[in-house]
């Protein structure tokens, strides 16, 4: 009887989140799983096309270009944000005056809406009246301004914005990891004559392994799936230079049109197939990383 009561009690807690997961998580995935075998434009009859959508994905150079762009974007973001956030965490873990304020300042971008953040950065970086170019011209650092969102620099710009948005979050996680390292390990190493760099190399980094593994995993997945700030700043342009995988996918479901433009067609069927392949790519990379980084999880 008591067992039954416990079960009812547990299920009553699980019920709301189970329903939400079912409706907001499982149902859309099941929907996409079905429609990736169909040609469906959001109206009329969905036409079964077997594996045609997947064959199209294989030959879709726009999609594979977006995959390459995603790797460049994710790689750039990771290479800059992980060392930077670790450095910030290491600095702010010391007894620095004002460290609490600085932690809050660096963490702030995490709580700001991505879209709002991207709009602000757009006003900073845009080439025709952006604040950054005005500043550079005023101080004679450039004569005609730099086309930050143009074909040459757009990818670098969106990476920098992504790094700005991510560093505070990873810094906080690293900080939590750093604070879990016992102080006496540092003390004994100091007695053995280790300097700060050696302590960082031989104590901090290895003991931060599990946190590092988790942070990098999170960073990889977030970077591979990220597209929101890019959508606001460049809409994937110019000419696809910043079109990442999930932005390409978004546009299949919600194509970009506008006044005077031709009528747009939503491609739910093909979009579902692209979503599946994209998820597969993210999943495979995450798994490969997970197994490759298992050593980091060992603190012994």
């Amino acid at each position: 009887m008591n067992k039954t009561k416990n079960a009812v009690f547990s299920y009553s807690f699980l019920f709301p989140s189970a329903i939400l997961t079912l409706v907001l998580g499982i149902y859309p995935i099941a929907w996409a799983f079905r429609y990736m075998f169909y040609n469906y434009k959001g109206y009329g009859e969905a036409r079964f096309t077997g594996l045609d959508n997947f064959s199209r994905v294989l030959h879709d150079s726009q999609f594979w270009d977006s995959v390459v762009n995603t790797f460049v974007y994710a790689g750039g973001k990771l290479l800059l944000s992980i060392p930077l956030s670790l450095l910030l965490a290491a600095i702010l873990n010391r007894g620095l005056r004002g460290r609490h304020l600085l932690r809050a300042v660096f963490f702030m971008p995490t709580v700001i809406s991505t879209a709002v953040m991207a709009v602000v950065f757009f006003t900073i970086f845009n080439s025709y009246n952006g604040i950054l170019n005005q500043f550079l011209i005023k101080f004679n650092l450039t004569s005609s301004g730099i086309d930050w969102l143009g074909p040459k620099h757009a990818m670098l710009t969106v990476i920098l914005v992504a790094v700005w948005g991510a560093v505070g979050n990873y810094m906080l996680l690293f900080l939590a990891g750093l604070q879990n390292i016992p102080e006496d390990v540092y003390e004994s190493s100091a007695l053995d004559g280790a300097n700060k760099v050696q302590q960082f190399r031989y104590i901090t980094l290895p003991m931060l392994g599990p946190v590092m593994q988790m942070v990098i995993m999170l960073a990889i997945i977030t970077a591979l799936k990220g597209y929101e700030s890019i959508m606001v700043m460049t809409e994937g342009g110019p000419a696809g230079k910043t079109e990442v995988m999930f932005l390409y996918l978004y546009k299949l479901f919600f194509p970009v049109g506008g006044n005077g433009a031709s009528a747009q067609v939503q491609e739910f069927g093909y979009g579902s197939a692209v979503a599946f392949v994209s998820a597969l790519i993210v999943g495979i990379i995450s798994l490969v990383y997970f197994y490759a980084s298992k050593r980091m999880n060992r603190t012994d």
Binding site: G44, S127, Y128, N129, A239, G257, N259, G260, Q264
Partner: protein
């Protein structure tokens, strides 16, 4: 212990019920139930993506809410560029609007998605006579879904001050003149940060939909590459147009940063005098009188043609304005609001204030020329005409606007780009004909030049 458990269980039940309550609440709001606290008001919502007339429409909606005696309250929702997406999402939930702003490039899709309800039951004979029925623009399968208000013409908009500074008297009438004028304007204005030409390439479909489209149509080619004579796609007419745009960019006569320029920032730059010329719609005078008051003297002229010969008609876009939602639970109230918006007083005011040029014959005959700076250049002329509706297809791979913009940036073989576009668009057309019931019949007698002259001689 037991009481704690009971309390926690109760809490979870309350939370679950709370969620349910949220759902039903949203439903009743959308339904605009007359049982709300505010009494007997029937609430309906009107969604529009138009910003150029937002203040005007807001005023009219407020006046309707104050004066109507049927207890109807309209909530006006002005969406941005995400209008279509927001509408799609709203139709998946219970929050869809009652009245929807439809355009020439959305009404067909909304009809197919069954978002719209026919309005025939509300149309009296005088109304049917007053508002022309236009196939695929407001009428589908014999049923009317919207009524026209204003039409939109497309023109070259130019900075008269910069033209004077560069010593240029007339706006360009051919593509070579467009290149030359852009160069001269840049030479005259570059020191002050002004450039000859601009396009809003952050969104290539919007940029080319207001520029290459009108040049192609006026030169006798389908604005989206579709040839009504053969019922096939053929983008070859775009070759000189895209080469011209590329030339202007390569010459350095295009505003720097057009790759990330949206239409509103473009307008803001034009209003500041930083742009010599661009191509756009007749909504611009409204924009420069309210949204971005222009600091320069400007005017509009017919778009240039490829070689100076007008072999077609400059698209006069319109034929629809408001439509009734198929999901509206208050269709009669929604229609009353539509009837009010389509009243002579509002349609006349709409034209006279310069928000658009009426497509309703009785209004255009009586309404004064709009009292807004710059509109005179947009008034219909002998070369404005309504093109048939272009077929909507979903080609595999890159869309034409993106492919052309990519060529403008990176160069390459434009002939190969056009051949590839023709192949993919025609394959998509064949697929739509075979599987989606799309009708595309060749019309050997189709004469694009004959489309003009119906709204002005």
């Amino acid at each position: 212990m037991m009481s704690k458990r009971f309390a926690l269980t109760s809490l979870s039940v309350v939370l679950a019920l709370g969620l349910t309550a949220c759902g039903s609440n949203a439903e009743s709001n959308s339904a605009g139930s007359g049982n709300s606290k505010e009494g007997e008001k029937t609430k309906i919502s009107y969604w529009t993506g138009d910003r150029h007339d937002a203040e005007f429409v807001k005023e009219k909606v407020a006046a309707f809410n104050e004066t109507n005696t049927d207890g109807i309250e309209v909530e006006l929702v002005v969406k941005g560029d995400d209008f279509d997406t927001a509408l799609d999402l709203s139709f998946q939930t219970a929050d869809s609007p009652d009245v929807i702003r439809v355009k020439e490039n959305t009404i067909g899709t909304f009809y197919k998605k069954e978002y719209l309800a026919p309005i025939d039951e509300f149309l009296t004979d005088p109304l049917k006579d007053k508002f022309p029925a236009m196939d695929d623009l407001n009428t589908f399968d014999g049923k009317r879904y919207s009524l026209p208000n204003y039409g939109t013409t497309m023109r070259l908009i130019y900075n008269k001050d910069l033209f004077a500074k560069a010593g240029i008297e007339n706006p360009p009438a051919t593509l070579p003149e467009l290149v030359d004028t852009a160069k001269k304007l840049t030479e005259a204005g570059k020191a002050d940060g002004a450039y000859g030409f601009a396009q809003n390439f952050k969104n290539p479909p919007s940029a080319l939909g207001r520029s290459s489209r009108v040049i192609a149509e006026l030169s006798g080619f389908g604005g989206f590459g579709y040839d009504f004579k053969t019922a096939r796609f053929d983008f070859s007419g775009f070759k000189p147009i895209i080469e011209t745009f590329k030339q202007i960019k390569d010459d350095g006569s295009m505003l720097p940063g057009v790759e990330s320029l949206d239409i509103d920032p473009l307008r803001a730059q034009f209003a500041e005098g930083k742009i010599g010329m661009y191509l756009s719609f007749s909504s611009e005078p409204g924009v420069y009188s309210t949204q971005f008051p222009a600091k320069i003297d400007w005017a509009a002229a017919p778009a240039p043609t490829i070689d100076g010969n007008v072999n077609g008609a400059s698209g006069f876009l319109g034929g629809q304005w408001l439509a009734l939602s198929s999901k509206s639970k208050h269709k009669e109230a929604a229609w009353k609001f539509m009837e009010y918006m389509y009243s002579d007083a509002i349609l006349t005011d709409y034209q006279e204030k310069g928000f658009g040029i009426s497509m309703v014959p009785s209004i255009s005959a009586a309404a004064k020329t709009p009292d807004v700076k710059g509109i005179e250049g947009f008034l219909p002329n002998a070369h404005d005409g309504v093109w048939p509706v272009y077929p909507t297809v979903a080609p595999e791979g890159m869309k034409s606007d993106d492919a052309f913009f990519k060529y403008m940036l990176n160069g390459g073989d434009l002939d190969a780009v056009i051949t590839d576009l023709n192949k993919r668009y025609n394959a998509a057309l064949d697929d739509a004909i075979a599987n989606d019931g799309l009708k595309a019949e060749p019309d050997p007698s189709f004469d694009p030049a004959a489309l003009g002259g119906k709204f002005a001689k």
